[in-house]
Amino acid sequence: MTASVLGWLVLGLPLLGALVLSLWPSEPPQTVTRVIGCGSMLLAFILTLATWGTLLGENPEERTHVSSLWRWIEIGDLRVDLAIRIDQLSVLMMLVITGVGFLIHLYSTEYMAHDVGYRRFFAQMNFFVFSMLLLVEAGNFVFLIIGWALVGLASYLLIGFYDDRPSAVAAARKAFVINVIGDVGLVFAAFILLAKTGTLDFDQVFASAPKTLDGYAAEAVALLLFVGAAAKSAQVPLHTWLPDAMEGPTPVSALIHAATMVTAGVYLIVRCNVLYELAPSASNVVAIVGAITLLLAATIATVQVDIKRVLAWSTVSQIGYMIMGAGLHAYSSSMFHFLTHAFFKALLFLGAGIVIHALLGEQSLDRMGGLGKHLRGVMLMMAIGCMAIAGVPGLSGFFSKDAILAHAWSAGALGKCLWVVGIVAAALTAFYMFRLFFRTFMGPDREGGYEHLHMPGWAMTVPVAILTVGAAIVGWIEIPGVWDAMTTWLDPVVAGGPLGPAEVTHSAEWITGIASTLVAAGGIVVAWQIFGRDPKRRLELAGVARGPRSVLRDAYRFDDIFEGTVIEPTKQIGEVFLTKVEPRGAQGLVDGASSLVRVISGVISRLEGGLVRGYTAAMVGGVVVLGLIATVLLRAN
């Protein structure tokens, strides 16, 4: 089978799963749901591997396959096909989406077994995977936007999965609305591209952009695309929905709000790298926003008490690295960090899920501690995940994070500043991750101890184990000075811009490697001092820096700012329109014509007393007679 046929099949399988599950007339037995939900994912993953294999067998320059099913629309001068595009970048994304996606589906079969809405969960998860695949396989901006919005819908549905819980409903609404803001950014970027290039097809847009997009238009497009990217990838100031999104079940957080959907912004920038190559200022904005997000989120993560919120802020922060890398034109490094992050963050979420599952839904770090004794295997796997994200040398996060930071170091004065931010955030990352680790697994049992810990079965353990292996070794695909499989693979789709990534010297790699190792070690040691060595120390330090910590705990109060400046005022404007303007507008008119009103009202009340038949006849008859008279009279003339 050709790569495009495989691409369509991969896209179709999760959709089919979602449709079959949704249209099943009643709640099917859990086994049926499991087979359909996971089976479609496993098949999709196998076919994605086959697609990858097909591409590997081809000449690197000829690995792009565009295929269309039908002419979707022909409007004005524009033609848009329902088309997919399989190339190195989309296959990389597809591998992660279906691979990690399958593992998380498998995990969910057990994690969700006690919830009502088992079928609904898997239908929505399959629908999410379909939408995400559509996003990365789309061959033009229209279907990119459609996939983009549908993942938002899937995310909305799954955040609000526990739909009788008001907090979940509110979180879902917030995520949806912020994502619509992002959609608008994307749509307007498409409008400029359409106005300037006359097309929305990726190949044609990218081919003509250097000639047709002047400086301002290119900058505007790049910035508008970034509005979309920032909303989807939770970058400041559009990040506030992601922590709330933790209202969804934990597997959802792992798949959508860590491994795949939230990295769509990175994918978007990398996919449109040709446009960012034309927009130096917008690229700098992207890099700076990424760095700001990276730092803010890392600081917030240090004080969160809910285990999932720590991980959520950590995700925001890690995507900040990727966005920063993309803004610095280090596209392959960003995608590399996306890949490693998918493994270790999915691992961390699923590991946290096992803990939450064991404690029957408890998510507060204050109600944990000492779990290492009871959940030894999970503790080991989580330890590897924490080390991977903290950047311990040899594990995956070390390589990918350093790849981005080495690019920053080499990218002039701005790059150096960003490098410093990245290193500081790396220290914070090591600190908050090991804070989480020590508070969960080390020390004495929580007060009251643990009764009836709910032990994970194979369906939850095996996926976490596989992800652990990935989190440990996936970084080895790109080792500075040894080989660079990722860069080589992506080279044909990201190379060739006038700006391009800065040349990375060996000294930059060494400096970054040493600095990041030192700060990671430092972060871990500080965390050990406060939370690991002696659990009482944490309580002794509880009074320190209360004010700043409460600001951090409230995430710099972004929510309050939006509530006060946008939501409340517009809500009040709407209220005024509804209660003041609407009635008076109508009333004024009626008052003005009050005499007319009385006359007509009299006519109507008299009519109402009569037979319906009578005046229907009168009306119809009147129209007919008038028509006849008019005809006859005018003819006679």
């Binding site: 983009w148 749509v187 359409l194 507008g585 109508a586 007509i600 009202s601 319906v612 005018l634 003819r635």
Partner: protein, 503 residues
Amino acid sequence: MPWTTVLIIVPLLGALSMFALPEGGALQARIHAVVASLITLVLSFELLRRFDRDAGGLQLVDSHDWASSVGLRWTTGVDGISIWLVLLTTLLFFIAIAYSAFAWCDRPRAYLGLLLLAEAALIGLFVAGDLVLFYVFWEAMLIPFIFLVGLWGDENRRSATIQFVIYTMVGSLIMLVAVVATGILAQRHTGGAYTFTIADLAGVDFTERESTWLFAGFALAFAIKLPLFPFHAWLPKVYSAAPILVTALLAAVMSKAGVYGLLRVGVPTFPVGADNLTPVLLTLAVLGIIYGSLVAWRAETMRLVVGYSSLAHLGFIVLGIMAFDLQAGQGAVLQMVNHGLVVAATFGIVAMLARTGSEQMDRVSGLGAGAPWLGGVFLIVAMAALAIPGSNAFVGEFFILAGVFREHTWAAILACIGMVYAAVYMLRLYQDMMNGPRVGDGRKAEFRLPDALAILPIVLLMGLIALWPQSIVGGTRESVKRAIEPARAVAHPPAGVGEVPLP
């Protein structure tokens, strides 16, 4: 066979046949109504089959001398714009009539007869090729709706009807004056015989002053009918007081009369005036989008959320027409169909929700648990109503704004506020009803067979358009081009034509 004329006559005969029925003939009335509207629906599909998608101008024309001395002709026909509105009318009226006939109906003879009359008048309006005929049907359409609201409405029906009558009368009178003036002035310019044939009037060279005033007259009448902000004062009262099925038809079909008139009569006949008044109409449309969205967000009944959202959505269609851009124009025609389908389905769902006892937003919540199928369909419809990318409504909105963006960037940017707030108010409607703590019995709202037969075909059509918008848009190109080309030529005078070619 004079297809387009037959299409008016069949529902009219159905309505007249009601008089032949005995006083208590409820069953026969139901059968007559369903059969008449079904035949009309089938005929309209035959019309579509015979329709040439690649041609411009009126097709399947039926033209007879009526009163030649004053230029009146009975001219009917369809083009790439009206064919879709005819189909929308026949489909939605068939569903409405069949649903009323089988599920609910008070005084069925009169009710169904009036519905058939309204259908005949609306079809007549959409196929009219003569300005006087257009006006006659414009008036004729009001009468059945006035009675439907005035006799079957709720306790506020009287004041609602009065307001409806006042507003539409004002609009009609203005239009009547404009119609007569157009005929007389056109005769003066051409020097020949009187004519009211719309296609011929489009070629008349009105002076700028005439063109502006005449366009203003027609536009005002259309704006009231749409309704366009700020001429919408009748909307909340009438939409609230009417039986919900009538409200659905008002919003889904009758509101199209205004936008259709703009595109069929206003813009092609008075291109200079249209161009002069473009800033006014764009401003009102944008204000309507923002205003309607904000009010919809705060509205207290489900019906008014949908009603005010309709105000916003119609603003988008007006933007698309007044951009004088082929993409935006084709998008606007598609959006007329989309809005008709979506708003009909939404009102259908509101009607189901109302079975739990109230249409107030704050009386029930968490109905989704008792009504899972309703929850699923409602979600799809709500997403289409907020024009999520991937829905049918997105296609229209996207291309409308793409064209508006090229021609009047400011209007497109302001309109995007409406895109965001659409998500806010539709999610409020959906979530407040379906999610949250369980108050009220969702099982009462769940799909029953008549609901499913009425709403699912509409939803399936929405899906078809989303997957293959070409099915509709493909047939609109030549007709929209004809309608907007003169105005576009005025907006981009020859010197600039080279720079801004018609896409």
